[in-house]
C-alpha cells in the first residue's frame, strides 16, 4: 500500500510518517511515497506517485483539503482518503467525505487511533 501524507504542518506530517512505519503496520506493508504541504502539491505528487491511500488535512493554503479530496477522487475513484483535521465544524469534514474521502480522524490523535484508522481504511 502506497501512502501519501498531506498536511501543512511538518510536525503532523512527520508524526504520521513515524506512526505509519510502526511495527504493527508492517503487516499492512505501508510504503510512504510522498508528503505534501498543500492541496496543489498533493495533486502534483498524486499524478507521479499513484498512492493507494492518502491522509488529508482540511485547512491548508493554496488548495484546501475538500478541493484536494475532490480532485484526487476524480483522478482515481479507488483511492482511499483519511481526513485528519482539528475542525470543530463537522460540516466541512462531511463535505470532504461526500467528495470522496473514506474516513475521518480528529486531531489531536494518538498512535493507536491513527493505526486503527489506517487499518480500517486498508481493510
Amino acid at each position: 500500500m502506497k501512502l501519501m501524507i498531506v498536511d501543512d504542518s511538518s510536525i503532523i506530517r512527520n508524526r504520521i510518517a513515524r506512526i505509519s512505519r510502526h511495527v504493527d503496520l508492517a503487516k499492512l506493508e505501508i510504503d510512504i511515497v510522498g508528503q505534501a504541504s498543500n492541496g496543489k502539491e498533493a495533486v502534483d505528487l498524486f499524478v507521479k506517485a499513484h498512492p493507494d491511500i492518502v491522509t488529508m488535512d482540511l485547512t491548508m493554503p493554496e488548495m484546501d483539503g475538500v478541493e484536494c479530496t475532490k480532485a484526487l477522487a476524480y483522478m482515481n475513484p479507488a483511492v482511499r482518503i483519511l481526513v485528519i483535521s482539528a475542525l470543530s465544524d463537522k460540516s466541512t469534514a462531511l463535505k470532504a467525505l461526500k467528495n470522496g474521502a473514506s474516513g475521518f480522524l480528529y486531531k489531536p490523535f494518538n498512535d493507536e487511533q491513527l493505526i486503527s484508522a489506517l487499518e480500517s481504511l486498508v481493510n
Binding site: 483519511l82 460540516s91 475521518f104
Partner: protein
C-alpha cells in the same frame, strides 16, 4: 441474515421426492392403461370377427341351398355361387388368421390385423372347427371352382353343410364367448390397475399435503415465535430502535420507547428527516442528511466517521401532548445493516441522554466552583488577615444595608425604586472597590454582575417590586460566600472572624491603593503609578480613615478609568506613557485637613461631558447651552452619569461619583474639582475634625 439455498432444498427434499413418486405412479398407471386399452382394442377385433364367423357359417349353408333351389328351377346359379365363394373364402382366411395371426378383411372391407388365439379353450375350439372346416372346404370345392358340377357333388356339399352347420355355429359361438371372457378379464384388470394407481396417487397426494402443511405450520410457528420475540424485545428495550431505508423512511417495526423518547406518534414509513425537522435546527438537519447519505454510500468506512455523527448528542425541542415544550438531548447512533454484502438499511438507536448531558454540565460547574473556592482560598491566604477582617466586616455591613433596602422595596409597594436602587448601587460599589483593592477578582466580578443587574432594572420603564426578587436571591449568594470565606478564614487562622471588629490601618492604605491602581490600569491596557504623601493620616480617627479610604478607592478608579490615557495617546500628547496619580493628606490648619487626589490625564472635558449628557437624555441642547462650564463639569456627580459608552468592572456604570459626594457629605467635607484639559484633574476634599458627623457619632 442471508438464507442459504442448500438449506432450502434440504427443507423441501421430502416434498420433492413425494411429488416425483406421484408422477412415477401416474406414469406407470398411464402406461399400463395404454397397453391394456390397446389389447382390449385387439380383443374387440377378434370378438367381432369370431361373431362374423358365426354369421358366415349360416350364410354359406344358405348359399348352398339357394344354388340347389335355383338349379332345380332352371334359374341362373351365378349369384349363389359368388356368395358361396365369398363367404367360404372369408371364413377360411379368418379361421387361419385365428390360428396363426395375420391380416384379414375386416367388417368395413378394410384389412385388419388379427392376433392368434392363445387361450387353451380357444385353441381347442379352433382345432375342432378346423377338422369340421376341412370337410366343408372339400365338399364345397367343386361347387365353387368348377363351372359345371354334378348334382351329386351339390347334394354332398348340402348334406355336409346341414350335418355340420349347427356344430360350426356352436364352435364359433364358443370362440366368441371365450374371446369376450378374455376381454372382460382384461377390462377388469385395467379397472383394478386404475383403481390401485389412483389410490396410490391419492395416498401420495395425501402424504405430500400432510408433509407440506406440517412443515408450513412449523415454519409458520417459527416465524410467529420469532415475530413474538421481536415484538417483546421492541416493547421492552429502553432505546428507540428502528430501521431506516435509503429514502430515509422509518421501517414497519420500531421499539415502543421511540414514541416516548421522541414524544410523538411514529407511523411505519414516516419520513425521518421530517420528524427530525420538527425538533432540531435546519443546520443539524442538513448535516444529518449528509451523514446518513454517506453511510448508505459504499466508499466511506462506517467506523471511521462515527466521530462526525451530528446527532450523537443533539439538542432538540420536544413538545408533549399538553403542548409543553422542553429542551432535551438525544443521541442517534447509526449502524449499517448488510444483506448479501449490500447495505439494505441503517439500524438507528435513539437514547435520551439529557440526564447525562446535565450531569456533565453539573460536574463542570462543580469543578468551576471548586476552582473559585480554591482561588478564594489562595487570595485569602495571600491577604493580610486584618485587612481581610476589615473587608469582611465592611461587606457584611453593606450587604445588611442592601438587604434592608430590598426589604423596604418589597414591603412598600410604589416605593421610590430609583432611589432605593441608587442606594444599593452605592453599597455595591463600595464592596466592589474594596474587593478590587484586595485583589479579590472573583468577588469583584460577582459584585460587578450584581451592579449590572441593578442597572438593568434601573433602566426599566416601569420598575415593579417583582423585578427586585432576583436580586434577593443573588444577595443570599453573597451572604453564603461571606460565610464561606469566614469559615475558610477561621479554619486557616483558628480565630472566629465574625467577632473581630474592623480596623482601618492607615499604613496599609498606600500599598492597597498602589495595588488597585496597577490592577485597574492593567485591566484597561494602561500604565499608571500612584505616589502618596499621607503624613497627616495618623492624626485622623479610624472611622474617618475608613470613609476616606472608600472615597479614595472610587476617585482612584475614576482617575485611572477616565483620566489616564492609553500609553499611545499619552505619547502622542507628549506625555510619559505611564500616567501618574498622586494622593496626599495635609493638615492645613489646626484640625483642618485637605485630601487630594490628582492625575495627569486628559482632564474633565466639558464637551465630552456635554455629549454624554445629551446621549443619555439628561438635558437637552438648549439647557446645556445655558449652563456655564463649571456647572457642566459638576454634572459628573449626578447619579447614573458616565462618559463611557460601555461599562467594565472599574467604571462606566455611572455609579461612583455620586457615591463620593454622599460620603464627603457624610464626613462633613467639601469637594473642589480643578481640571485642565489634556493636563490634569484634581479632586480636593476639605474637612475638619470636629465637624465630621461620622467622627462625632463614633
Amino acid at each position: 441474515m442471508s438464507v442459504s439455498k442448500k438449506q432450502g432444498l434440504g427443507k423441501y427434499r421430502v416434498i420433492v421426492i413425494a411429488v416425483a413418486l406421484f408422477l412415477v405412479f401416474d406414469l406407470g398407471v398411464l402406461i399400463l392403461n395404454f397397453f391394456t386399452s390397446y389389447q382390449i382394442g385387439q380383443d374387440a377385433i377378434s370378438i367381432n370377427l369370431a361373431g362374423r364367423q358365426r354369421m358366415l357359417s349360416q350364410r354359406m349353408t344358405k348359399s348352398l341351398l339357394i344354388i340347389a333351389n335355383d338349379a332345380s328351377a332352371g334359374r341362373d346359379i351365378g349369384a349363389g355361387k359368388t356368395e358361396l365363394k365369398k363367404t367360404v373364402g372369408l371364413f377360411d382366411s379368418t379361421l387361419k388368421a385365428f390360428h396363426t395371426g395375420g391380416s384379414v378383411m375386416g367388417g368395413n372391407d378394410k384389412m385388419v390385423e388379427l392376433n392368434a388365439i392363445t387361450s387353451p379353450k380357444g385353441l381347442q375350439i379352433l382345432s375342432e372347427a378346423s377338422t369340421i372346416w376341412q370337410g366343408y372346404t372339400l365338399a364345397t370345392q367343386p361347387i365353387i371352382t368348377q363351372a359345371e358340377f354334378t348334382p351329386e357333388q351339390l347334394t354332398t356339399a348340402i348334406t355336409y353343410a346341414r350335418a355340420n352347420n349347427i356344430k360350426l355355429l356352436g364352435l364359433m359361438n364358443g370362440l366368441t364367448n371365450d374371446l369376450e371372457k378374455i376381454a372382460s378379464a382384461k377390462a377388469e384388470r385395467l379397472r383394478l390397475v386404475q383403481t390401485i394407481g389412483i389410490g396410490l396417487a391419492l395416498l401420495n397426494f395425501g402424504f405430500i399435503l400432510f408433509k407440506f402443511i406440517r412443515s408450513l405450520r412449523r415454519s409458520d410457528e417459527l416465524v410467529e415465535q420469532a415475530q413474538q420475540e421481536t415484538d417483546e424485545i421492541l416493547a421492552t428495550v429502553k432505546e428507540g430502535l428502528f430501521l431506516l431505508d435509503e429514502n430515509l423512511k422509518i421501517g414497519n417495526q420500531y421499539s415502543a420507547s421511540l414514541r416516548t423518547i421522541l414524544l410523538q406518534e411514529i407511523k411505519p414509513g414516516a419520513d425521518f428527516i421530517a420528524i427530525l425537522g420538527s425538533m432540531s435546527s435546519s443546520e443539524t438537519l442538513v448535516s444529518a442528511r449528509d451523514y446518513i447519505e454517506l453511510l448508505f454510500g459504499n466508499h466511506v468506512k462506517e467506523n471511521l466517521i462515527i466521530s462526525l455523527n451530528p446527532l450523537s448528542e443533539v439538542e432538540v425541542q420536544l413538545t408533549d401532548s399538553r403542548g409543553k415544550s422542553d429542551t432535551r438531548y438525544l443521541s442517534f447512533q447509526f449502524n449499517r445493516v448488510l444483506v448479501a454484502d449490500k447495505i439494505s438499511h441503517l439500524l438507528v438507536t435513539v437514547q435520551d441522554v439529557t440526564e447525562r448531558v446535565h450531569l456533565v454540565t453539573a460536574l463542570a460547574d462543580v469543578k468551576g466552583q471548586s476552582k473559585v473556592e480554591l482561588s478564594y482560598l489562595q487570595k485569602i491566604l495571600a491577604i493580610d488577615h486584618e485587612q481581610m477582617h476589615n473587608f469582611l466586616a465592611l461587606m457584611e455591613t453593606s450587604l445588611t444595608n442592601i438587604n434592608a433596602a430590598l426589604q423596604q422595596a418589597s414591603e412598600h409597594g410604589g416605593a421610590d425604586y430609583h432611589s432605593i436602587i441608587n442606594k444599593i448601587l452605592r453599597e455595591t460599589h463600595t464592596i466592589k472597590g474594596e474587593a478590587a483593592t484586595l485583589g479579590l477578582e472573583s468577588c469583584t466580578s460577582n459584585t460587578h454582575s450584581f451592579e449590572q443587574e441593578m442597572i438593568r432594572i434601573r433602566n426599566l420603564p416601569h420598575i415593579q417590586g417583582n423585578d427586585m426578587v432576583g436580586l434577593t436571591v443573588r444577595l443570599d449568594d453573597f451572604f453564603e460566600r461571606l460565610h464561606l470565606v469566614r469559615t475558610i478564614m477561621s479554619s486557616v487562622t483558628g480565630a472566629n472572624v465574625s467577632t473581630l471588629t474592623p480596623v482601618a490601618h492607615a499604613s496599609n492604605l498606600v500599598d492597597d491603593m498602589q495595588l488597585l491602581c496597577l490592577s485597574i490600569a492593567s485591566d484597561q491596557q494602561k500604565q499608571a503609578k500612584l505616589t502618596a504623601d499621607l503624613a497627616a493620616l495618623p492624626k485622623l480617627p479610624e472611622c474617618l480613615t475608613k470613609e476616606l479610604r472608600n472615597i479614595t478607592i472610587q476617585l482612584l478608579r475614576n482617575a485611572v478609568s477616565h483620566g489616564i490615557e492609553t500609553p499611545d495617546e499619552r505619547i502622542l500628547l507628549g506625555k510619559s506613557p505611564t500616567g501618574s496619580i498622586h494622593l496626599s493628606c495635609k493638615e492645613i490648619q489646626k484640625d483642618q485637613f485637605e485630601w487630594v487626589i490628582r492625575d495627569d490625564g486628559h482632564g474633565l472635558d466639558p464637551e465630552r461631558i456635554k455629549s454624554a449628557l445629551l446621549r443619555n437624555n439628561y438635558y437637552d441642547q438648549e439647557a446645556l447651552t445655558s449652563m456655564d462650564t463649571r456647572s457642566i463639569v459638576m454634572k459628573i456627580f449626578e447619579p447614573g452619569f458616565s462618559t463611557l459608552t460601555t461599562a467594565h468592572a472599574n467604571a462606566g456604570h455611572g455609579i461612583g461619583l455620586d457615591l463620593i459626594l454622599d460620603k464627603i457629605n457624610a464626613i462633613g467635607g467639601r469637594l473642589h474639582v480643578k481640571t485642565r484639559v489634556n493636563h490634569s484633574t484634581e479632586f480636593i476634599i476639605h474637612f475638619a475634625l470636629g465637624r465630621s458627623p461620622v467622627a462625632q457619632s463614633s
